[in-house]
Amino acid sequence: MSTLLRIDSVVKTFPGLTALDKVSLSVDSGEILAVIGHNGSGKSTLVKILAGVYLKDAGQVTLSSSAEHGEEVTEMHFIHQDLALIPELTALENLYLAKGTLAPNDVAAERARARELIGRFGNVFNVDIPVKRLSPGQRAIVAIARALDGWEHPRNVIVLDEPTESLHKSEVDALFQAVRQLAADGAGVIFISHRLDEVLELADRVAVLRDGVKVADEPTASLDHGRLVELITGSSETERAVAERTVSAGAPMLAVTGLRGGGIEHLDLTLRAGEIVGIAGVLGSGREALPTLLFGATPSLADAFELVGRPYDHRFPEESIRRGMAYVPADRVRLGSVREFTARENMTLPELRSLRTRTGSINAAQEREEASRLIDEFQVRPPRREQRFGAFSGGNQQKIMFAKWLRNKPSVLLLEEPTQGVDIGAKAAIYEAVEAAAAAGAAVLVCSSDAKELLRLCQRVIVLRDGVQAEELSGESLTEHHLVLSGYGLKDMEGTA
């Protein structure tokens, strides 16, 4: 097999930090290379250098030259961690942004093609509304479809930076199938993920980065889950075993009947103190809409809505926060953060009242101290309180967002994809923080596309389908197998596994 892309001793430094230290990699035609590593290890930086977003300080990047393949020129296609879609344009416009010249677009053909590409991942959604109105999962699919389309020949390199973080199992399967097909046709694939099972399933070879240094580059056949964790963390500590949960649920913190609005047709829901409840469901099931409805970010109707024992009818975010609700959205770039603010400013934004001095100003010393404590607690790396949010790696942005909402000691905690993009160590830390919050009396709602996550965290899981509750799983019936089947409304053929 011929080498399509070779990276030689690439170095990239940011002020005071070496993000990539003489990293060398190569991808052959037909090969799927996984690049893994902890948050901030330099994976996305590498991708951005390949894409020309950042300039490298030293080193060499070589695409196989046209001479080796006749007239073919190797192209690179990217799915960036932040997707690089233009929010105001429609899915269709985003798909064909870079294609064509002055010739008029054949919109009908483009639309048909777009629907076909998207259809591979399940239900086709409206491709004519602005991307910012799509759910995170749908947006990921648009970015994937864009990268999969418009290949002039098969021998290209495609780079996927954590493409699966907001996707449901079936969509992940569809993506993997597409990727395998590309590789079989001669493409080279670079695949980045924190989900080690996916890595073991998909990749031919695994390269591991740790603090910007490549520490391993081995065929997948010689690796297993435990070994990967060891390579990523540099120690042989594995994921903490799940503790047996004997939580006695307390008083209802949030009780709603007949909730409707957004993608929800009708839902009754009670969350009790100390309880962690999961919400599962495929794209369009109402899973993505539910937290924003409860939080009052999108308007909703309800027959009765009680928050911490008091009726709560006129719902909007400011009031929800005041009454002790917190909402960690899945879309951390658009909804969860102010990129121009520092980590500190982001973390304190929802609750500045407690920092006020007698003159009405913010107590700067107290704010700095609280921010430092949170950065410590949530293992934000690098631990730079005054760094712009946008300059943190994806997983560390997630940690900051989490810190921001747990700081208030909420009584109702609404989580959407809480561990997207975070590495193994931080994931455990976030789980512990969520459990600690529950133990301290919060009611927690976790909406996640990751079945393992729901199993790990939740005592019971509500499966949504077409905007209504399809099923509630708990105890014996709460298995991954059952969860996945239930999301699609399939009957369980084999009994609970």
Binding site: V53, S65, E75, A84, L97, R334, L349
Partner: protein, 341 residues
Amino acid sequence: MTTPSTIGGLRQKLSFTNISAIYILIAVLVVFSLWIPNRFLQIGVWRSLLDAESLTSLVALSALIPLVCGALNLAIGTQVGFAAILSAVFLANAKLPIAIQFPLVIIIGAAIGLIIGLLITRVRIDPIIATLGMSSVLLAGMSWVSNSHQILFATDQPDFTKIATTPIFGITIPVFILIAVALVTWFVMERTPVGRRMYAAGYNPESARLAGVNVARLQIGSLVAGGAIAGLAGLLLTSRLNAGDPTVGPSFLLPALTAVFLGSTQFKGGRFNVWGTIISLYVLAVGIKGLQLAGMPSWVNDLFYGLALLFAVGLSRWERSGKRLGAVRRVTTFRSKSKGD
């Protein structure tokens, strides 16, 4: 993995991109001191400069406050002009005493801000369009009230002109007013929760809202505050000119906005801020004063403002331009025709 050392921090603070206005000021001072020393180095020149630009600075602050919350106000010049005309009309035609006229103009200024705020947040008109429309309406209002003529009030209220022209320790009252307004604005914007929320609302209204920030209320509030300051500037303008002049107010727009944008490149790494705005304004004014004293034609003013804005903002974007280019490249597929990249 540690916080930057204090030396590094200091170097960053004193870097050209961070305080370019100060370096430009020094350069301008040196150039004109050598070129036209006997005209440029006069105490009178500096006093009149300080006084003249204090009004422009007030106008710049009244544009800055809503801009921080994400509302670019293009009506600010006509808001000042309208207030200036009203100030004169209230004295000359309505024969109001100053004690009533003064607060009344400020209240009307605030009310105009309120209307703009409601248009933007409730009717959901884009700020640029809302303020452009309002600007035209106010321009018409000014012509209607003044018949497009100067309005003289000296016979009715000879004292009014003293407000802007009486010196205290050689410095006129508007300068003190500016300092007071700037201090309050600075304190609110950079030291209080309200200010923090204003910046959040301007940067990312959607996530600010989810963090409990009432974006609409902040925008309305900032436009009301900006409107009141514009009213104050209009009063002082009429007091200084000793007449209500319908042509002067609108000409504040360009220098005020120039200073605000220039100011955002100073001190705070891209954030709009009070001291950056005021310093930028005075740097521009010193440059223009020098050119005038050197006998340059008056169109040099506009040229200078324009070039300074393009230069300074372009400069501050320079280091970020790599990223910008990158954003474009990321949506287009990267193609390599030859070896390497």
